[in-house]
Amino acid sequence: MRKYKISPAHASLIALVAFLCVLPFQLGGYALSITTLLLINIIIVVSFRLITTIGGWNLAHYPLVGVGAYFSALMAINFGWPFWATVPLAGFVAAIIGFGFSYPLVRMTGFAFFITSYAIGEALRLSWVKLVYPFGGPTGISRIPRPSPWSFPGLPTIDFSHFIPYYFIVLVVMLVCLFIMQRIDRSRLGNTFKAIYLQEPLADSVGIDVTQYKTQAYVIGAFFAGIAGALLAHFLRAIDPSLFGLETTTYLLIWAVLGGTHTFGGPIIGVGIFTAMEEGLRPLAAWRPLVYGFILIAVLLFLPGGLEDLPGKVSTWVKKLRSWIRR
């Protein structure tokens, strides 16, 4: 019988999840809502990173999050559909819209991908601004319900309108999403995406259907964006088109650039550090975007691989320093 050994990576992961399970009981209302938002943002940035593995930086990602948010909110308000049904369905609806987006997008690279995705996403977002029925126009939708309470005979009722139970829903959904995306990243599919990014003509010539795989990556990313959107809508309880505009997209890009996109964990580190920084810079108020602009440019100039590259860089610096001292 093979002995099952727990690797240090697994152990630290279990410790982290345990920490996240204990955390909400220690936090106040404000800190808890920031943490819940952080968990939702992690789903968004990791699904964004999934699309970057084919080489496309998708500026339509927040509009796709918006698709999930609007779908889930509208279904819950107008038809009274339960939260548990609308969240997965929101993922599928975003995936279908993403499939439509992907048709022109996967046929272009780099600059054109960037701008075209921005333009298509903006067109979608502006249609929410324009159509007062059913999207509520510029003021959006409010009074989005929280999930209905769970009650089992003999057990206390779980009321999801409170922060802590909702936090746990988000935590579980996030862990499931991350698990699936991590599996995809490690699978043959994920490696094919990276092969296409590194050497598209070569990948094409060995028989990989490049367009097909790029479409798959885009649709998968859109699916998880939609799920994150649905979680966001039921958390904020009010959404409007400005939540999904260029400014929010720029923040998404900052998370990805700050953390780096080569590893699975990079963007997660990026969004975590950025959230901490945002809270720390709160006294600066309206000057904050200026600071972010400088940080963004500084990271691109001096640490192009993002924070995930930092340990490697530091160790080379230390080595250089040591050899310099010995000399």
Binding site: W57, Y103, P104, R107, M108, T109, G110, F111, A112, F114, I115, T116, Y118, A119, I120, E122, A123, L126, S127, V129, K130, L246, T250, L253, V257, A286, W287, P289, L290, Y292, G293, F294, I295, L296, I297, L300, L301, P304
Partner: protein, 287 residues
């Protein structure tokens, strides 16, 4: 009939505004492989300089326009030296860095001169031009001769001057150009200077037409980018042709519906054109 002429006249005004902005963007994309989101903010800074000098300090309007051109050119060159030079050739990093610049310029301008109401700029050319019953304000009209002059000078420069030919050579093949002894760094600086100067003049002339506020760049940058892509990235003539096309689409749809619908229609048109022809109208290579 009057309505049709009015729309056509407005469409030409929009065409030249977009052409001036898009040709600048296409030029720096061709030379530096950098797409500059802060181009719209250069436009905004140009308008602010005119507001500061002409409306607030009573300088003569032409002097204010020249000052706007100079200041924006300076900002463009500084960003080239400080940011885009290191990131040249890396399209994604250049674009994201330019988004950082957008934040920096918007917040700086918004914090110094305040948000809220748009800054008032009285038109320098009063009255309006009447063509067959249609009215076009002289201030709006001024972008047409100004745009024609700027584009004409650029065309002459690119085709008749040695430095302009060097610029075109760099856009076609930077490595080969470098081997012929052309300094890529100097060409990139030149391209960025020209592009920023164009944006500055466009902003200066349109300062009394567009509401002058820190976010005014958003209104034009998306259309300018759409035009660059549809025209075929790096192709200046393609950018001009696409500017005419989208100038008309935007103006007609704005007149019939409103400007939000116009942007939606423009984006959808772009997606359709690119799905059929990924190189753009006059592009040589797939981008």
């Amino acid at each position: 009939m009057e309505f049709a002429i009015q729309t056509v006249a407005n469409a030409w005004v929009a065409t030249f505004l977009y052409a001036v902005l898009a040709v600048g963007l296409a030029l720096i994309f061709g030379v530096m492989r950098t797409a500059n989101f802060a181009h719209g903010e250069f436009f905004m800074v140009g308008a602010y300089v005119v507001w500061l000098l002409y409306s607030r300090s009573d300088w003569p309007f032409p002097v204010a326009v020249v000052a706007a051109m100079g200041i924006v050119t300076g900002i463009g060159m500084i960003t080239e030296l400080g940011v885009f030079r290191t990131l040249r050739g890396n399209v994604v990093a250049g674009l994201i860095a330019s988004l950082g610049l957008v934040f920096i310029l918007q917040v700086t301008v918004g914090r110094i001169w305040g948000l809220g109401l748009a800054k008032p700029v009285a038109p320098f050319f009063p009255g309006s031009l009447e063509i067959l019953g249609a009215n076009v304000g002289w201030q709006r009209f001024s972008i047409i001769p100004a745009g024609l002059t700027m584009l004409g000078i650029l065309w002459l420069f690119l085709n008749r001057f040695k430095m302009g030919q060097a610029l075109r050579a760099t856009a076609q093949d930077p490595e080969a150009a470098a081997l012929m002894g052309i300094s890529i760094n100097r060409m990139a600086l030149l391209a960025m200077g020209i592009s920023a100067a164009f944006a500055g003049v466009a902003g200066a002339l349109m300062s009394s037409v567009y509401p002058v506020e820190p976010y005014m760049g958003h209104a034009v940058i998306l259309m300018a980018f759409i035009i660059v892509i549809v025209g075929g990235t790096g192709s200046l003539i393609g950018a001009f042709v696409a500017a005419i096309m989208f100038g008309f689409i935007h103006t007609v749809v704005t007149t019939v519906f409103d400007s939000t619908v116009a942007i939606i229609i423009a984006c959808v048109t772009m997606a359709i054109i690119l799905a059929v022809r990924p190189k753009g109208l006059l592009g040589r290579e797939k981008v």
